[in-house]
Symmetry: C2
Amino acid sequence: MTSTNQVKTAYHHGDLRSSLLQAATDLIAEGGVDALSMRKLADRVGVSRTAPYHHFTDKHALLSALAEEGFKSYERAVEEALAGATSEDELLFRFARSYLEFAQAYPETYNLMFGQSVWKAGIPTEHLKTEAYHCFRRYVEHVTDWQQQGLLSEQVEPLHFAQVSWSTLHGLARLLLDGIYIDLKHLDELINLAVKMFRNA
Amino acid sequence: MTSTNQVKTAYHHGDLRSSLLQAATDLIAEGGVDALSMRKLADRVGVSRTAPYHHFTDKHALLSALAEEGFKSYERAVEEALAGATSEDELLFRFARSYLEFAQAYPETYNLMFGQSVWKAGIPTEHLKTEAYHCFRRYVEHVTDWQQQGLLSEQVEPLHFAQVSWSTLHGLARLLLDGIYIDLKHLDELINLAVKMFRNA
DNA sequence: ATCGAAAACTAGACAGTGTCAAGTTAATGC
DNA sequence: GCATTAACTTGACACTGTCTAGTTTTCGAT
């Protein structure tokens, strides 16, 4: 009677950590990140209020873990979009569009990945920092590829180009998600203009 | 004995609204926006916990009012920077630099102006929305000026250019303030690259 | 197979939060 | 001078994150 494959024993849950992460994404999907409290989360999973603290030192740690998952699925989404290109000319546009589609599709996740809830007051987990860093490094590698393919000027430092172009996309995403200055209607034109700027850098 | 120029009477404060705004900026300056609570604020000013609610319907309304002030001083800073230009060539760079300098100098204010604390959950005040809107409209006007001066391509829609370039600057500001992917050391080079992109759009 | 340590979990409590309802005091207009 | 209204207070409610101390289960070493 090992019980780990059965439903939980009354006391030991057996799979609390991932259950918490799942319930947390659910709660956030239902009412935004503000609707997520450690207590509601514990209630939802069916454990006591303080049980989650044995798996996450903090609420911030929990949010960081969610952000970490976000980086992974972002990476998947972008690589998939790039792989689907039929010509090199598309690459830049596909990247930009998939970036913004990800932000739109999972706004709360995007907020966690790049928002202050994790990066500022939270002091991000070491795990999260390296994950986010790798994510950017891979983008810089794409940039150098694109330079070699002649899609981008080889004059500019790849790192700098990556930083500025990421800023543009991040800015577009933020303004769009927050409802400031930008609305969905003309987004495609804005992406086109941004890509045009990237090309002529 | 009108008493408005004297210190407060015991009961009626006489100038609570602006005192609250002042104390709020102080508190935020001391420990970030998280360190601002309605109760601490009331304590600091020397009134009861619920007194502020006679001048601001909400905590969000209070934050919106601060953001509004932020937009005004932003506007001043930018116009001053542009006025100091000695040649038209400088204009774009001066704008970009003053934008980021403002964000760096008043990070918490910048957060309020463009952060989710006000725009998302808060449902921004009508006042704030129009203030922010005017701010952007004036930027669009600058853009059309710059186009006529030959600093920018006249091919692109001024609105779209304004949206994308603002996104770039906003993205740079956000990543910089949140400590993601960008550090102060190379900021000037990034601004230069961004401006170069703007020019070649 | 037993026993002790460690891991998983619970109950209770504390200090803090935003804000509502009802009551009190001062200013203001007629 | 008085009624209306605006400014302000006290008390309370329902939350929040998280600390401490205790309980229950699991597991590895003997």
